[in-house]
């Protein structure tokens, strides 16, 4: 029985998070009225010329650096030709000959918690196409040019991936990177992020088999489905002595891949430099002074302003506490890491897991409801840190904690201030608590000493202990005017009663033995 080695390379198309399109000032909105976001250039009106969107270039440069690429200071645009109604120019503007960036890599954590690396072959800027809608009933083809000309970065990987689960982990990491630097919101359901997968299998790990390309995977689950289906399909063909055809395939809704066209007869895109677009010249700190115009882009500036990337947050979180992979993933996905790390830096004494849970259970749903990011959270990380610290050090108890948390969100007051104003500090000094306990136990001894006899005569031991405990705690609450920290008090009471029971048991044993 042969072992088969799959090899996977991906092409990721991510819509750049800009207000307008790559070469026109038409706005870029999802689900806008058809053909309402179309500039003359997007409709290919003759004599209109492409004006490169500066923001799109900046985002693409940031993306390239975040993917550890080398950015070309001089890149150029080419036309890729095909006749299609939703491509009114008859060509797509892309970067075939001299792309924006090359030779990068992305390190990601695989499902088995192993760090793995995928090499990035190149990153290029290009236009998205329009959409065709076919009304079968009326026999009409409708065209919506809203998407035509929206800016994309295409990220092409080397064939470095060996399994569908690795492909998914890698894609997740890329999504996180793009989201962290703000170049793409990566909503696959809105078509902002699409993946093409090149899949081959081979019996020899050092040889690459004939590959097929699965185009336009536009749901996350589809990545795994498409690759798994394709690997199984290709292995079956090879085992039966057949040959895999080099072709383009599509993914059906049921997760199967189907042939779209064979590569041999593939369309010749007749690439040609775009004469309407000058070279894209980028500058460095050294060359920016010589730039001919004030809109010149300094790549060094973009690189030094890159926000902290998910991989760095992962490293810091791992150093901070031995969290499980899932928890770190959860924190990264929800962009919680920065807030969390700032919190624990401010109050290193807090309980790590309890704090994480508190944020996950309380703060995250609140922010999601209000559509706020952690940056915009009204409760600053330091304040939540104080609250967590006071809770975990028994200065306040759990129910007060929730109360304070809610009031802090509602009033913008700091938790410390709220607690002070309301006098919600609890007494957690053990000697104090013990003396209250002594006082109450003395009371009980005088009023109903039966209650302190173990084992009790008429009840089960547990019932009696429970009853006594609640009585004692109730009395302490009254005596202490509610200042005794409930959880701590409960622990002390339990300890004392346990001691009492043990003492009596010992006495009985020894008296029984002596009698």
């Amino acid at each position: 029985m042969n072992r088969w080695f799959p090899l996977i390379g991906l092409e990721i198309h991510a819509q750049l998070n800009t207000k307008s399109k790559l070469f026109s000032n038409a706005s870029k909105k999802f689900m806008a009225t058809p053909n309402s976001c179309v500039a003359r250039f997007d409709a290919s009106m003759p004599g209109t010329l492409p004006i490169l969107n500066r923001k799109a270039v900046e985002l693409a440069v940031a993306t390239s650096y975040a993917l550890n690429c080398q950015v070309a200071l001089k890149s150029s645009f080419d036309r890729k030709h095909y006749f299609y109604a939703d491509m009114p120019q008859g060509y797509q503007i892309t970067q075939q000959r001299a792309p924006l960036a090359k030779h990068g890599f992305v390190d990601y954590l695989s499902e088995s918690s192993k760090m793995k690396r995928v090499h990035i072959h190149q990153v290029q800027l290009e236009q998205d196409s329009g959409k065709s809608l076919h009304d079968e009933k009326e026999g009409l083809s409708l065209i919506d040019l809203n998407r035509a000309g929206v800016g994309l970065v295409e990220i092409v990987t080397s064939p470095d991936i060996r399994s569908s689960s690795d492909a998914c982990s890698f894609v997740k990491e890329v999504m996180k990177i793009l989201q962290y630097i703000g170049s793409c919101t990566c909503k696959m359901e809105e078509g902002e992020f699409r993946v093409d997968a090149n899949v081959s299998v081979s019996a020899d790990i050092s040889v690459m088999g004939t590959r097929t390309e699965i185009k336009n995977i536009n749901r996350f689950k589809g990545i795994k489905q498409a690759i798994d289906y394709e690997i199984t399909r290709q292995i079956k063909i090879l085992q039966e002595g057949g040959k895999v055809v080099n072709e383009t395939r599509g993914l059906t809704n049921s997760g199967e891949t189907v042939s779209m066209r064979e590569k041999e007869s593939a369309y010749d895109y007749r690439f040609m430099p775009d004469g309407n677009l000058p070279y894209l010249i980028l500058h460095t700190n050294e060359s920016i002074g010589k730039a001919q115009h004030k809109n010149a882009i300094n790549v060094d500036e973009i690189r030094s302003n890159l926000p902290t990337l998910p991989s760095e947050y992962r490293r810091r979180l791992q150093n901070e506490y031995p969290f499980e992979k899932d928890i770190i993933d959860f924190m990264l996905e929800n962009k919680m890491a920065e807030y969390y790390l700032a919190l624990v830096a401010h109050r290193p004494q807090v309980d790590r897991m309890l704090t994480f849970d508190y944020i996950r259970v309380h703060l995250l749903p609140y922010l999601e409801r209000k559509e706020l990011s952690f940056d915009e959270c009204p409760l600053k990380s330091n304040d939540l840190g104080d609250l967590m610290y006071m809770t975990h050090s028994y200065q306040i108890d759990g129910s007060i904690c929730n109360k304070v948390y809610q009031e802090a969100l509602d009033t913008n007051k700091s938790p410390v201030q709220i607690i002070k104003e309301n006098g919600w500090y609890k007494i957690s000094d053990e000697t104090m608590l013990s003396s209250w306990l002594d006082q109450v136990l003395d009371e009980v001894k005088q009023q109903s000493p039966d209650l302190l006899v173990f084992p009790p005569k008429r009840r089960k031991l547990e019932t009696a202990v429970k009853k006594l405990t609640s009585h004692v705690i109730g009395r302490i609450a009254i005596i202490s005017d509610g200042k005794a920290h409930a959880k701590l008090m409960r622990m002390i009471v339990k300890k004392r009663l346990d001691m009492l029971i043990d003492e009596q048991r010992e006495e009985q044993k020894s008296s029984g033995a002596s009698s």
């Binding site: 109604a85 009114p88 060509y91 690439f271 040609m272 004469g275 677009l277």
Partner: protein, 522 residues
């Protein structure tokens, strides 16, 4: 002033008259409209402006206030058809003005019409319009009197623009020059034709032929007029990323120009067989005049001139194939009635809309663009382009970063200008041009045949490949075998953004040759 005098004036002259209130803008309009009616048989307009806005008597002295002009029908004009002389755009009314049109309006100019042209600017005769050929005003009435229904061609592709200025219907016009399309008709019609540096004038709103070569050009009746219009139109346009970013200095033309100290290069590759003896003589005479005027005249070499046409044809056809791809039945032209499928509809509509010649160029362009032909054609053309530009850079002694390989520091004296004829022949009769350019398709067109029409375009196309400016100046007349006198144009070339040098030497040529434009009209 008698109206038959007024239309003969130059732009600068009528500006003076307007300024001193000797004439009114209404007078000018009336004269030009009258002239248009008189010469309508020349077919230089595809569409004439019917209703003119009442001229505002504002006190602001706009530089072109009330001056009639026309623009080639491949420039977008708001609310007026822009046809490119093709059935594909027969009824196409754009919703915005090209930047040059917008500027001319803003400066107070008065548009008379849209100039007829070769379909989509492909041609050198002005004969390949789907609305009929443009006729050269020179000797048009003589031929009519002789009972000959043949006519002289206006040159192309901006034939209508040249003929309108030559006929006195407008004081200047705007054409487009991709491979000589302004300078050839200027030479044929005896007017001044300027092809500026690539990117000096905005292409926004110009229906493209070849994006990396196209540049709007200017037709006028004098060199000073040319500089005047150039100063108005030049400059960066935010809507055209290929316009030059640096400020281009204004060009001034003195009433008398001299050429003392200038170095004029005569490229030896431009002595070609088939040059008309009168043109050769006019060239020699000009060389003498420059020399007498204190310029140093030297021989230079542009060794790659023989590759200009193949390089041009490949780049141009490829862009044609691409640029015309957008003209499908969805947005433009007439939708065919019979087509059932999208592809069939598209095919039938395009088949109807484009002429044979355009279709041939589209086919050739797509052939060049095939992946298997990339190395053989496109990549070769792109490197030829660098070599050809390098030849010019060397002649002008310029260190051009993109061609540093070729521009050596030591070598012959760096030239200020190059001087050649504009065309090797004067305007031919329509019948002989048809044979010359094989318009009737007598020979099977082979995409490998990349020669063009050497008599017409040999001297001019390299300038577009190099992206540098050139001007054609009428210097005299040549009597042809039919006994008709036709104008001769000489061609001055400068390095990029040195239009001021062009104007200076062109003005010198103009004053030395004392060319009489109206010798045959009346």
């Amino acid at each position: 002033m008698a109206s038959n005098e007024l239309f003969r004036k130059t732009l600068i002259q009528v500006r003076e008259l307007l300024k001193h209130n000797k004439i009114s803008p209404e007078d000018l309009l009336t004269v030009c409209q009258h002239r248009m009616r008189e010469t309508s048989a020349l077919n230089y307009f595809t569409n004439a402006v019917e209703k003119h806005d009442p001229l505002i008597n504002s006190k602001i002295d706009l530089p072109l206030k009330g001056i009639p002009f026309s623009v080639k029908d491949n420039f977008y004009t708001e609310d007026m058809p822009t046809t490119c002389a093709s059935l594909m755009l027969e009824n196409h009314i754009p919703e915005f003005n090209a930047t040059v049109v917008e500027k001319l309006h803003a400066y107070g100019g008065s548009m008379m019409g849209k100039d007829n042209m070769d379909e989509f600017a492909m041609g050198s005769g002005g004969c390949e319009s789907q609305f009929g050929p443009v006729r050269n005003p020179w000797n048009y009435s003589e031929l009519e009197v002789e009972g000959n229904d043949d006519f002289y061609v206006a040159g192309g592709s901006s034939g209508g623009s040249a003929a309108a200025v030559a006929a006195g219907a407008t004081f200047f016009s705007i054409g487009s020059d991709t491979g000589g399309s302004v300078r050839v008709p200027a030479a044929f019609c005896g007017v001044v034709g300027l092809k500026p540096t690539y990117g000096a004038l905005s292409r926004h709103g110009l229906v493209p032929l070849c994006n990396s070569l196209d540049v709007p050009g200017i037709f006028t009746r004098s060199v000073a007029d040319s500089a005047f219009v150039f100063n108005i139109l030049k400059g960066r346009d935010v809507n055209d990323p290929t316009t030059i970013k640096q400020q281009i200095p204004n060009s001034r033309v003195k009433p008398e120009e001299d050429v003392k100290g200038m170095v004029i290069g005569i490229p030896k590759e431009h002595y070609i067989d088939g040059t008309h003896p009168d043109i050769r003589a006019a060239w020699d005479k000009a060389i003498q005049q420059f020399s007498d005027g204190g310029a140093t005249v030297i021989e230079v070499s542009l060794p790659n001139q023989e590759y200009v046409q193949p390089c041009y044809r490949i780049l141009c056809c490829s862009d044609v194939a691409i640029n015309l791809a957008k003209f499908d039945e969805f947005e433009y032209g007439r939708r065919a009635r019979h087509g059932e499928f999208k592809e069939e509809l598209n095919y039938l509509s395009r088949d109807y809309g484009f002429s044979e010649k355009v279709k041939r160029r589209i086919a050739a362009g797509n052939f060049f663009l095939l992946e298997e032909n990339k190395e053989k054609f496109i990549n070769k053309a792109l490197s030829l382009r660098r070599m050809i530009r390098g030849d010019y850079a060397k002649a002008f002694g310029t260190k051009d970063s993109s061609v540093s390989l070729f521009a050596s520091t030591s070598g012959p004296l760096p030239c200020d200008l190059l001087l050649t004829p504009t065309t090797s022949v004067t305007s031919p009769l329509h019948s002989s041009f048809t044979a010359m350019a094989d318009l009737d398709g007598a020979e099977e067109q082979d995409p490998h045949d990349l020669a063009g029409v050497p008599e017409v375009d040999y001297h001019v196309t390299g300038i577009n490949i190099a992206g540098i400016p050139a001007i054609s100046v009428p210097v005299g007349l040549s009597t042809n075998q039919h006994g008709h006198e036709m104008p001769i144009g000489l061609h001055l070339v400068a390095w990029e953004q040195q239009e001021n040098k062009l104007f200076r030497a062109a003005k010198f040529l103009e004053q030395e040759s004392n060319f009489q434009q109206w010798v045959e009209n009346n």
